[in-house]
């Protein structure tokens, strides 16, 4: 896995680009921008479901969600650039493993939300509270994304082999 990612980075020129003096910080800035867009759109949507800013019509607010998905897509792309430029800093790092797990939980949570909880939310009146199922999904989403940010910072702050690891 590490060899494959490394060779992708080398052959595509990503590795060389990322290790110029401005490559890494520029892509990091885009990654932070994407996460702000994600939290701004998905996070405010979750907060509304949890009862913050009641009065904002949920069906209309949902039009912001695609912009949050755009932020997510930007972060998948920029995140890929980091990983192929230093695969061993990520693959063996428990913070990165937890980050991916939280992203998977958030993804499953999205599927469950749209399958079971979205229809009554969309139809709800402007000032109405969200049903309990939707509130639960919103809380799971917020906790996951905030956890993703915490793990993202942990990745670069504690690097393997000196990484922070609670099962080692």
């Amino acid at each position: 896995m590490e060899d494959l990612l490394y060779s992708i980075g080398q052959k595509s020129g990503i590795y060389n680009f990322m290790h110029t003096s401005w490559g890494w910080p520029t892509v990091e800035s885009l990654h932070f921008l994407g996460l702000s867009l994600l939290i701004g759109c998905i996070g405010l949507w979750d907060l509304r479901l949890l009862g913050v800013a009641r009065g904002v019509p949920m069906g209309a607010l949902h039009r912001l969600v695609p912009w949050g998905v755009g932020g997510y897509a930007l972060n998948l792309c920029t995140g890929f650039l980091f990983v192929v430029s230093a695969p061993n800093q990520y693959l063996y790092n428990p913070a990165f493993q937890i980050k991916l797990s939280l992203m998977a939980i958030a993804g499953l949570n999205i599927l469950v939300f749209y399958r079971f909880a979205f229809r009554p939310v969309r139809a709800a009146a402007a000032g109405a509270p969200a049903p309990a199922g939707a509130r639960t999904a919103a809380a799971v989403s917020l906790v996951c994304w905030i956890g993703v940010i915490v793990c993202g910072r942990l990745i670069t702050y504690f690097r393997p082999p000196y990484h922070w690891c609670f099962w080692c």
Partner: protein
């Protein structure tokens, strides 16, 4: 200036920020989460003024103001803590002053928008006037500049501590 920085970085709160292990890292984490909400709420409000999610009455974006104030408090406290840990690192770097100026301009714009196009539900029916759309677009550019300069701070610093300048 240098004497002051050397004195500041040798105070107990400053050394504690650097040496306690968790203090610096947790400030960094809170600064990141706070940034996501501060920049996120501003970006979403700007997008709304520019015409995204037209079914959301603009004046109702003000309901997110308490969340914005709370996140501004988080970034300010964590930012001051990070500054206290390595005062010379930021204060000797022009990028830091650029970041502060961009934040000030962005907050001033949001204050103007809150008093204008976001301030009165009677304005909600019509699209935002061109001048306020221009302000919202400027705000988007400023937040990109704040985030980018914040990130570049870590790469453009010339010194970590003022005492290093003595040798």
């Amino acid at each position: 200036m240098i004497d002051f920085l050397i004195w500041l970085e040798e105070t107990r709160p400053s050394t504690w920020m650097r040496e306690s292990g968790g203090a610096f890292f947790s400030s960094l984490v809170f600064h990141s989460i706070g940034m996501a909400f501060v920049a996120g709420i501003h970006v979403v409000t700007d997008l709304r003024i520019l015409g995204v999610a037209p079914g959301v009455p603009r004046s109702l974006m003000r309901r997110y103001l308490p969340a914005l104030w709370a996140s501004l408090a988080v970034v300010t406290v964590s930012g001051l803590a990070l500054l206290l840990a390595y005062p010379a690192k930021a204060l000797t770097n022009p990028v830091f002053y650029f970041k502060l100026a961009a934040i000030a301009a962005a907050l001033w714009i949001m204050r103007a928008l809150m008093r204008g196009v976001l301030g009165d539900s009677r304005h909600d029916a019509a699209p935002a006037p061109g001048k306020e759309k221009a302000l919202a677009a400027a705000s988007l550019v400023l937040w990109v500049a704040v985030i980018t300069s914040g990130r570049f701070l870590a790469y453009t610093a010339k010194v970590m501590l003022a005492s290093h300048l003595l040798y």
